[in-house]
């Protein structure tokens, strides 16, 4: 079995799906000849030719808008937007068309397309390269929003996203693109979109998190374990639709919940999870549902980023707070 890191898993999934399905095409800024600034699309052009993997002008709205037309006319575009912060010029196409074409046309025109981009901070990058905009997409009906955190999930979810008959926003936590490797099966497999994974079982509280924060959470959990505290950790994997069942079932067991997100705190994904828990498992709550998130400020440049990114230490502190809350 190949041992791959996250970005290699993306590449692997693309490679296999392009092989399997000639209607899959890949494009974006520097995504063709160069293989992407993170090398996620490397070798695809060489292997499948310039018609199926190609470079585009710097034109995010154009990339997404053209993909809409292509998806209608028989292709399955998997487009790369270069960074999370450069998805914004494409938001009009995404919100006004990508999410709506099926509904608008009463099912006649559907958009089997994927919009991929590296997301999140922690790579000491320039401004706009460290954004966590997942909630902006999650709020939009008609979209699905996915963010895997391991090479295994990356491959299985990307294949699922490409095969999904509906558009999928596929966010890749760039901080862990190369952070670790994992065995990834050669055969093609699919991880169901909308299913979270319990990455660690526990009794004392439920921690829900996703993307790069999964690893930081697990570090904090290790510390907690040393103190005899056993959190259950849920890696969302899909942000929209939320896996309600997984979350609620766990909270019913533990009575306590902490949501860890890299995005700024207010009006984020964590809030929705807490609202949901309130609606579905209120009477099981033994402590106030809590959040660890970035403060409500613009992501600082690298020399200030350490004050911004939620850290294992911060998560650990919050775990204690939630667990020690008396009822």
């Amino acid at each position: 079995m190949p041992v791959l890191n996250n970005v290699q898993a993306v590449n692997y999934a693309l490679m296999q799906e392009m092989e399997r399905d000639p209607s899959v095409i890949v494009f974006g800024e520097d995504a063709g000849y160069e293989g992407g600034v993170f090398r996620a699309t490397v070798d695809l052009q060489e292997k499948f030719g310039v018609e199926r993997c190609f470079d585009t002008p710097i034109s995010e709205s154009g990339i997404v808008g053209a993909a809409v037309g292509m998806a209608i006319n028989g292709l399955k575009p998997v487009v790369e937007l270069q960074f999370c912060g450069f998805t914004y010029p494409a938001l009009n196409q995404i919100i006004s068309h990508v999410s709506r074409m099926r509904n608008r046309s009463r099912g006649r025109f559907t958009l089997p397309m994927v919009i991929r981009f590296p997301s999140g901070g922690g790579i000491r990058a320039l401004e706009h390269h460290s954004e966590s905009p997942e909630v902006l997409f999650a709020h939009i009906p008609g979209l699905k929003v996915v963010m895997p955190s391991t090479p295994y999930d990356m491959k299985g979810l990307l294949i699922a996203a490409i095969r999904d008959p509906d558009p999928v926003i596929f966010m890749e936590p760039k901080r862990i693109y190369r952070a670790f490797k994992q065995e990834v099966p050669e055969e093609d497999y699919v991880i169901e979109i909308g299913k979270a994974s319990v990455v660690k079982e526990g009794e004392d509280l439920t921690i829900v998190t996703w993307g790069a924060m999964v690893r930081d959470t697990l570090k904090a959990v290790e510390e907690a374990n040393k103190k005899g505290i056993y959190p259950e950790v849920i890696d969302l994997r899909t942000i929209s639709p939320l896996d309600q069942e997984a979350i609620i079932q766990s909270v019913k067991k533990t009575g306590r919940i902490l949501v860890v997100q890299e995005a700024v705190k207010s009006f984020g994904v964590a809030s929705e999870i807490i609202a949901l828990v309130n609606e579905k498992s209120f009477l099981h709550l033994e402590a106030p549902p809590a959040r660890v998130a970035a403060p409500d400020i613009i992501v600082p440049l690298p020399r200030g980023e350490q004050y911004y990114m939620p850290s294992p230490d911060m998560i650990y502190k919050k775990i204690l707070e939630v667990v020690n809350f008396l009822t």
Partner: protein
């Protein structure tokens, strides 16, 4: 080629019929079977009648917001006539004539303006995208349609409609630029009807013409008299053929006029002179084409009266059907969000359904 002969930078505009329907240059008259000439006339008339009636129904409080297209029939019918069945159309929202020429039934179109979602569901065998409200966003879809065709080895061409105001949006630029780079077989049809709601065209751009904007993208543009259906057809036909031959995109500026209000919510007397409207009435595309056909012995008053009366009745009948169609089905507003409802959506669906059922609203 017309697109070379009529360089917009030289102030040229393609015109074949003058405003009285006289042929200006026989060499330019496109080859159209007589039968089709009559059909084009009928479609323009049908468009005009259905348009006026929609406006009237709206004034009677029976139709919702409607965007009239009186005056732009030649642009729409003439250009759409140049398409083949396999070609794609990406309209904005004022394209009644193009929809009808493309073969969409009026009931569907009326349903849309009646506020019923089924109005966006065009029959499977007609290649037309739903109404696109966000200005110029549909241009990119047209480019994508043509790019996909090329990649799949199909010789389908796409046409996108938009207005003079539509040229100001970033998406206009990105669409034309991409089409240029990938040599997409897309015809960009700008209906320059002189106004964007209350804003006159010279507030949209300092460019002398809209057609010349093509040259910023490495391809050609042509300005045509948009009230002359022969000119519109000739230019579009050429553009489509070039696209089909792999010669890339073309920008066509149809120089025309919106004779009615922007939409039924708009009162144009607030921002433009009656005199301007009168001047453009003189250049009416239907009047002009009628004279031409009458001159050729293909049309006469009797035919027109008879046809108009028949259409009148048909439109009335269709609209009554539309009125009886009632509301969008409750199920339908949930059903098309995704191929399969998500569990959350399913829950909401059940909750809302119960709520409305309880109240006898379903």
């Amino acid at each position: 080629m017309l697109v070379d002969q009529y360089n917009p930078f030289e102030g040229k505009m393609l015109q074949i019929l003058d405003k009285d329907g006289n042929v200006l240059d026989e060499n330019l008259v496109p080859q159209i079977p007589e039968e089709d000439l009559v059909k084009l006339m009928r479609t323009m008339l049908y468009t005009r009648i259905a348009d006026r009636k929609a406006l009237m129904y709206q004034r009677q409080g029976r139709m919702l917001t409607y965007a009239p297209n009186e005056g732009q029939e030649a642009c729409q019918v003439g250009s759409a006539y140049a398409l083949e069945k396999k070609d794609w159309m990406a309209p904005a929202f004022r394209e009644l004539g193009a929809w009808l020429q493309r073969g969409v039934d009026l009931k569907t179109i009326y349903l849309y303006w009646y506020g019923n979602e089924m109005g966006s569901k065009v029959s499977e065998d007609i290649r037309i995208l739903p109404v696109s409200v966000p200005i110029s966003s549909q241009l990119l879809h047209a480019v994508g349609l043509a790019m996909a065709a090329k990649k799949r080895g199909l010789d389908e061409v796409s046409i996108a409609y938009f207005g003079d105001g539509g040229t100001s949006e970033g998406d206009f630029h990105e669409a034309l630029n991409l089409a240029g780079v990938y040599k997409a077989a897309t015809v960009f049809f700008c209906q320059n009807n002189q106004w964007s709601i209350s804003v006159p065209k010279h507030f949209q751009t300092a460019s002398e013409t809209f057609a010349q904007k093509a040259y910023a993208y490495g391809f050609k543009g042509i300005k045509v008299d948009g009230n002359d259906i022969l000119a519109v057809y000739a230019a579009t036909k050429e553009a489509i053929e070039r696209g089909r031959r792999g010669e890339g995109p073309t920008l066509i500026e149809g120089y025309t006029y919106r004779l009615g209000p922007h939409t039924t919510s708009d009162d144009p007397t607030r921002y433009r002179e009656e005199q301007e409207v009168d001047e453009w009435r003189e250049k009416d595309p239907i009047k002009r084409f009628r004279s031409y056909l009458v001159g050729k012995g293909l049309w006469n008053e009797e035919m027109e009266v008879q046809f108009a009366q028949a259409v009148d009745e048909e439109v009335e009948r269709i609209f009554k059907e539309v009125e009886q169609s009632g509301n969008t089905l409750f199920d339908d507003i949930f059903k098309y969000q995704y191929e399969k409802m998500t569990p959350l959506l399913e829950e909401e669906y059940e909750e809302y359904k119960a709520f409305f059922e309880e109240r006898g609203m379903l």
